[in-house]
Amino acid sequence: MKNTLIPIIGLEVHIELATKTKLFCTCSADHFSKKPNTQVCPICMGLPGALPYTNYEAVISTIKFGLAMGSTINLFSKFDRKHYFYPDLPKSYQISQYDLPFCVGGNFAGKRIRRVHLEEDTGKLVHETIDGVKSSLIDFNRSSVPLMEMVTEPDFHDIESIISFLKDVQLIVRYLGISNADMEKGSMRLEANISLANSEQVIANKLPNYRVELKNINSFKFLEKAASVEIKRQTEALEKGEELVQETRGYNEVKQSTFSQRSKADAHDYRYFPEADLPPIELSELIIKNLQLTIPELPEQKRVRFEKEYELSKDFANILVSDLDRANYFEEALRQAQSKFGQGATLSARTIADLMINRKLDQEFPEPAGLVKKIIELTSVAYSSNEEVENAVKSVLIENEKAVSDYQTGNGNVIGFLIGMTQKKLQGKGNPQIVREKLLEGIQK
């Protein structure tokens, strides 16, 4: 009997917060594509004598995210120094959180969260050959930008569930308005810890005795390729009876294989100790409750509501909810349609959704008002106002005196002709009943 091997995967997700300023200084945090070392100050450059000062917004964002992940918020938390030498780490320590992070535990999309903490980002390294010499260039614009780090339990057993989970996390932070979590722009970064367990271990709830860390995953495609290649490698090795070790591996896109990256044992002695320059954070149940209240409607709640309130199909609801801007557009368009014409919400809702999803009309009309107008055209459910009808009738009666007198002398069928002329003036938007009424009124006068 072959022992089936099951992937045991845990994730470390870094999300760059979209605060205005960096985590420990008041430099702008909007560093993408800026000229190097132009958004820096003594603090984020680690100049002698500089001291950190914590960004309130970054702390609040992290706590809100933790709440959305179902975590417990620590009433007492602090920052710690994490030491290692690397050219893009200006102080040679990173201010992070060690044993008392803001958020502990949690559960999201059926996966357990271990912790969420806040730390500062490093600078950026670029490799270039200058005058024939291989060099590394350092830019500190990104140094000290706030990063949330979320660690999950090894609850993932296949790649699809990882991707779906990450997409859900992306959506949450966008809904919370705390980050864009763009993998391409680097505002969401991923590391996966991959190992394989046999069915015996799984039944006994035992974790494998090794873990391979896959780093620098910068897109979902990369994740798919690298992770499947690594799972295959581990499977083959274990089936051959080889032992696997704790290590870090990178993915070579050209060779389509993973390779070991040397990591010495002592490289991980971070010598954590409490950051004395930053007083700790003390929260109360009341503060946390109040923060919970500020959390807007989250994707899952919106999905449920869209299905119920607007009687949208699951698919339609999903598509709209997966883009907060579209979901908002949808509801705004509906609001406008209802206020103008007072039609039954149900009908309009489904129509609007359909037009957005199948005809992509929200792309054609960036403003909801435009879409509403188009709906009128297409569904002709919106009639001309009474005033418009009266004006049209007036003109038609003046212009068609012969027809009027024909009607008055007993030719009843002429009314059809007059209705037609009126509708023409109204571009077909006249409510038939009202047009007929107004015409008869007008003729009688």
């Binding site: 070392n37 820096v40 309130y56 490093t122 830019d139 700790p280």
Partner: protein
């Protein structure tokens, strides 16, 4: 608490962690000095600290947080680069870094 005696390997290890390039002579010079100091401070092992919480800060403050408002920096790109002439097109320049960071 039994403090292991400081060895040459310990000193070498610690020097590497601290990115200090020591010669053999230096290691031999520092070893007895560090041992002596560690022995002296090791006396703390005898103090009863049950039920005591550690103090890492005497300011006694909590929740010192600032608003998320951008303020002009006290240094521009020139100021930032002014500490060294190992720069290139606005970047700091070092010999190629071949090793991966030990952490993200």
């Amino acid at each position: 608490m039994d403090m292991a005696k400081l060895s040459k390997a310990d000193v070498t290890h610690v020097a590497r962690l601290a990115k200090l390039d020591l010669t053999d002579t230096e290691i031999n010079k520092f070893l007895p000095q560090l041992s002596q100091i560690l022995e002296h401070v090791g006396e703390l092992g005898k103090v009863d600290t049950t039920d005591l919480t550690p103090t890492s800060q005497t300011a006694g403050l909590t929740n010192v947080l600032r608003e998320d408002e951008v303020k002009p920096s006290s240094i521009d790109q020139n100021g930032a680069l002014s500490g060294t002439n190992k720069t290139h097109n606005g970047y700091f320049k070092v010999d190629a870094i071949l090793t991966e960071r030990s952490d993200k």
